[in-house]
Amino acid sequence: MSQEIKKDDRKLWEVVGDYFRANSIWMKWYCTGCGAIEMPPTMTSRFDMEQLGMGPMATPRQADVLLITGYLSTKTLRRVIYSYEQMQDPKYIVGFGSCTLNGGIYYDSYATINQLDKYLPVDLYIAGCMPRPEAIMNSFGELIEMIKRGEAKGWKHYQENYDWYKENQMYSLGEVMIHDEFHE
């Protein structure tokens, strides 16, 4: 994802902005799969994510990072795409566990996708099935370093290659916005 950003060509105000963005990450914690259960110990007193300046937020509009915690069915992926597109730039995605990497144990399921970064720009993957809270905290530290160095550019990549992402989304989902009896 970040191979096209070779040298640090950010302007001064972007560097300052990245300092603030790295030290205050609000997350939209989208509970797609089993990884959601690893988040409460990460947020509460055992591991205390707030010491990194991170915290849960109620809506995608307010959030900076979208956590995809586990397998994504096609049905969920549609909702994740809406949520991602509602977020304000700059925004980051962290994929949890092997299901978002290559499908995991659901590699042959008719309902779950196999590779998240075909549909949305993932900045960071966490290996494991599921990753333990230590791994999650460690990866948040890595995400903070990436933002400080200006390497977490997934949102820019998504804007520049929107056609490619849209084509992949259409190929697997047929239609992103759903019209049925529950969504007029």
Binding site: S24, T59, Q88
Partner: protein
């Protein structure tokens, strides 16, 4: 009114923002320690606000944008009228009624902006916030009228000044204990601290009026929230806890009062909005009326 008045006003505004934001950060740390966590840095609130201001933002129509600016402008204008330790940017304009009315501009701007975003959660949040305001305002106003009746003055600075000189026993909180308790309970409602935080309720209505705010507007809302907290705590401090003879005493008292509300709110559950209204109309309103009767007909508290 000279240029110096405006410069003083600006200084009050900046000072209020910096002090209250630092205090909020320290209180986040205190909250974390209550929950046996390490907690964020004490300047985390500044980072959060500047981060929000550094993000992109969208618009949901001009009502939304205009409402946000009107809210921030109204609240910032109110801060300038607040007397801080005998210091006033515009002397003589610190009447309780002036402050209440200017504060309403900001409140209505926020309600307008949130409703203009078109999100149903925002409408629910705004209606709950206004209901909550109705609930805490009536008992508080009864007590404030009692205070004005005793002191024959509606000026916040005068009310604060009249309590000074005889130490703790001069405070209206001690002289009118029932009314003082009502005022502190109403402060919880004003600040949206638990148990009266049903209008933000993140897990229930997705942070209510704030639901559609993101990026720069969210940063403005955070600044607004800090300034509003300053106004509310300062009003109660000036009217019931004697204000401050010097700036240092004022700020220490302010920090203690705000930290007290924060600590108490950490061990509270949340009222539903109808429970909150019933509570305010039963207990604090009853206490406020009783206080008024004691003061006006029996002459207690003079």
């Amino acid at each position: 009114m000279t240029l110096m008045n405006f410069i003083y006003g600006f200084l009050v505004l900046i000072g209020a923002f910096v002090f209250q934001t630092t205090l909020t950060g320290i209180n986040r740390k205190i909250t974390a320690r209550i929950q046996k966590r390490r907690g964020p840095k004490f300047y985390q609130q500044f980072i959060d606000i500047f981060k929000a201001l550094s993000k992109s933002s969208i618009t949901h129509g001009w009502v939304y944008d205009f409402g946000a600016i009107m809210a921030l402008g109204g609240i910032a204008a109110t801060v300038i009228f607040i007397p801080v330790a005998g210091f006033q940017a515009f002397p003589g304009l610190d009447n309780v009624f002036v402050i209440s009315y200017v504060l309403a501009v900001g409140m209505l701007g926020m309600a307008m902006s949130a409703a203009g975003s078109g999100n149903p959660w925002a409408s629910i949040g705004v209606s709950r916030a206004l209901t909550n305001m109705l609930a805490y305002d009536i008992p508080l106003m009864v007590v404030v009228f009692t205070l004005i009746f005793i002191n024959k003055s509606g000026s916040v600075a005068d009310l604060a000044l009249l309590q000074q000189g005889s130490g703790v026993f001069g405070w209206n909180f001690i002289k009118l204990p029932l009314g003082g308790i009502v005022a502190v309970v109403a402060l919880f409602g004003m600040l949206g601290k638990k148990p009266f935080d049903s209008f933000i309720a993140p897990a229930e209505i997705a942070s209510g009026p704030m639901v559609e705010y993101g990026g720069k507007q969210l940063g403005m809302m955070f600044i607004l929230h800090e300034l509003m907290t300053f106004i509310e705590v300062s009003l109660i401090l000036n009217m019931f806890f004697g204000g401050g003879e010097t700036l240092v005493i004022y700020l220490i008292k302010y920090a203690l009062l705000y930290t007290f509300t924060n600590i108490v709110s950490q061990v509270m559950p949340r009222f539903k909005i109808d429970q909150a209204v019933l509570f305010f109309f039963r207990v604090p309103l009853g206490m406020a009326l009783l206080q008024g009767i004691l003061v006006i007909f029996l002459g207690w508290g003079y």
